[in-house]
């Protein structure tokens, strides 16, 4: 017969076992490298995440992987040569960056383009905005493992890029806007095609909405994640859909109307709490508003009929070919325009537009020559990304993905 063991005795053990368990469980913070190339982030960025279990303690965001020296390149070319570089800032909505830069140059030159051109610019810019928001929402779905809505979104984005291709010959890097005008007027069959495409985009947005907006998984992943308050937004100069989702109705198109936005009827949607779900809803509604704007532009362009799309100003636009081939002065002017482009009066100017991500500003300094002294782009992606570390303090690691998606950091614009 085995001898009975005496009960084990732990002299240090306190009475409450659970408390003891808590005290004994010793964990260390873990540092996780995410990126610079990670399948769940669109954009090249590296996160250095300090984790306590699954919770983020510290987040260091390292940007710059796509730095191409935008400002340095602009400062070494003529005023015209910077326009293709602006295409490559936010490559989802290249035309908006074109418009921002060109209008800043026009501000320094003191010129205003023709009416038809202004409506064309608004229309092409809004098509770009739709493409940008579709990328944001579609890619967010994909990175939350929802493939179907991503395909709806991407089909709609293809349609908007097809419209841009009809307008300017390129899908992504459009290079459509010129100082004092646009490259050329829209093709004759554009309005009819655009109407068909808009109807199809509307249908795709309905499908997108059906599978996503009240989808339990999607809502649970987005609700109350990545929250930023109104006050924090202002402190961090966050603009665009993120600011609007926090309940601030700030939109440069309404606050400082440029082009013909003051003649267009559209609404600025706002959210309530400033979480990712509100951001999604704001973007979804902004796409509807942009479609409304495009339709108004098409109607107005039809109403005003054909007209010049370029300013008749020899400083910025080339003379007509007939004159170039037959007259000496125009030939010289053509030569000067091609080799050095416009000379912008000395001075400085800041011009801001509402891009898809927020306030896109250009601060230009000229010394009166054909080469800019300074081309500063105020990149909304860069500035909106900065407070992400604070937005995610204490959050789960999994919340990083939707938050990053709805901040919509575009590497080209963030890193320039």
């Amino acid at each position: 017969m085995a001898q009975q063991q005496p009960p084990l005795h732990f002299p240090d053990r306190p009475a409450d076992l659970e408390e003891d368990f808590e005290r004994d469980l010793h964990t260390e913070h873990q540092v996780l490298n995410m990126g610079p190339s990670h399948p769940a982030t669109h954009g090249t960025v590296k996160f250095l995440i300090e984790l306590d279990g699954e919770n983020i303690v510290n987040l260091d965001i390292q940007v710059g992987y796509l730095h191409r020296g935008f400002e340095k390149e602009c400062e070494s070319g003529t005023w015209y040569q910077a326009i293709p570089y602006t295409d490559r800032l936010n490559y989802n909505s290249a035309i908006l960056a074109n418009i921002g830069y060109v209008m800043a140059v026009e501000k320094l030159l003191g010129i205003e383009t023709t009416e038809r051109c202004q409506w064309l610019r608004v229309m092409s810019g809004e098509i770009s905005r739709i493409a940008d928001h579709l990328t944001r929402c579609g890619a967010a779905c994909l990175e939350l493992a929802a493939m179907t809505p991503f395909l709806y979104g991407i089909e709609a984005r293809e349609l908007s890029w097809d419209m841009l291709e009809m307008l300017c010959g390129a899908r992504v890097t459009s290079n459509y806007i010129r100082i004092g005008g646009v490259k050329h007027d829209m093709p004759r069959d554009f309005p009819a095609t655009a109407k068909d495409f808009i109807a199809r985009i509307r249908q795709l947005l309905v499908d997108f909405d059906d599978v996503i907006t009240s989808n339990r998984i999607f809502v649970d992943r987005l609700k109350d994640t990545g929250v930023i308050s109104k006050e924090e937004c202002l402190k961090h100069a966050v603009t665009g859909p993120i600011l609007r989702s926090a309940g601030v109705p700030f939109d440069v198109r309404k606050a400082n109307p440029y082009l013909v936005y003051d003649q267009i009827d559209f609404d600025v949607p706002i959210g309530e709490v400033g979480d990712n779900y509100d951001r999604y809803l704001v973007c979804a509604e902004e796409m509807q508003q942009s479609l409304r704007i495009v339709e108004q532009c098409l109607a107005h362009l039809e109403k005003i009929g054909p007209g010049p799309v370029n300013l008749d100003d020899p400083r910025v636009r080339w003379p007509a070919k007939g004159k170039v081939f037959n007259r000496m002065e125009e030939l010289i002017q053509q030569f000067k325009s091609v080799t050095e482009g416009p000379r912008v009066p000395a001075g400085e100017g800041y011009f801001a537009i509402e891009s898809a991500n927020g306030e896109l500003g250009f601060y230009l300094v000229s010394d009166g020559s054909a080469v800019p002294v300074k081309v500063r782009c105020r990149p909304p992606s860069f500035i909106n990304l900065a407070p992400m570390g604070e937005m995610l303090k204490g959050a789960l690691l999994a919340d990083l993905i939707p938050t990053f998606d709805f901040i919509n950091m575009i590497g080209g614009e963030c890193d320039r």
Binding site: L234, A237, G347, E348, G361, K374, R376, P387
Partner: protein, 164 residues
């Protein structure tokens, strides 16, 4: 003057004597050139008294061959009054490889954090009191500050291996 922003500029000139050395409203952009030692006072006044809640942009310009050589440019926006103002601070080049210095406004406007890091990265301007002044767009081993006008565009940088 009726054009926007100038009432704020007038108050700024009146309230902090000696801070604004020069001002203009070229093309409607209200601009105040501020003495470097008064920058903190001016920013505090703009934020708390004149309702400029947002520091939209911080950048610098290198006017090589002019005195002062650098200019740090701040763009502020007041949402309450829908006004913009530009604050510029001239910074002389101390020479002999030393960096020009200016007070950081990160404690007043947290948005300045990354933008000041970018200016430091690109122009080699040191922001005193910045909590985390590191390079941001370029890597630590990068030599020089590429947006300075005396940095040649074609200059090659040494290759660095992976860092862990």
């Amino acid at each position: 003057m009726e054009d926007f922003g100038s009432a704020a500029l007038k108050r700024l000139i009146d309230d902090i004597p000696g801070a604004v050395t020069e001002s203009h409203a070229y093309l409607g952009d209200v601009t105040a050139i501020v003495a470097v030692e008064k920058l903190g006072d001016v920013m505090l006044h703009l934020r708390d008294e004149l309702d400029f809640e947002m520091l939209m942009d911080v950048t610098a310009v290198d006017y090589l061959g002019r005195e002062p050589r650098f200019e740090v440019v701040y763009h502020l926006y007041s949402m309450a009054n829908n006004q913009r103002i530009r604050i510029k601070v001239g910074l002389a080049d101390p020479g002999s490889g030393a960096m020009p210095e200016i007070a950081s406004v990160t404690d007043l406007y947290p948005s300045a954090n990354w933008m000041e890091r970018e200016v430091f990265d690109m122009y080699g301007i040191r922001f005193e009191g910045h909590p985390d002044l590191r390079r941001i767009l370029l890597y630590d081993e990068f030599e020089g500050h590429p947006l300075r006008k005396d940095y040649p565009k074609e200059r090659r940088q040494p290759l660095v291996g992976p860092r862990n």
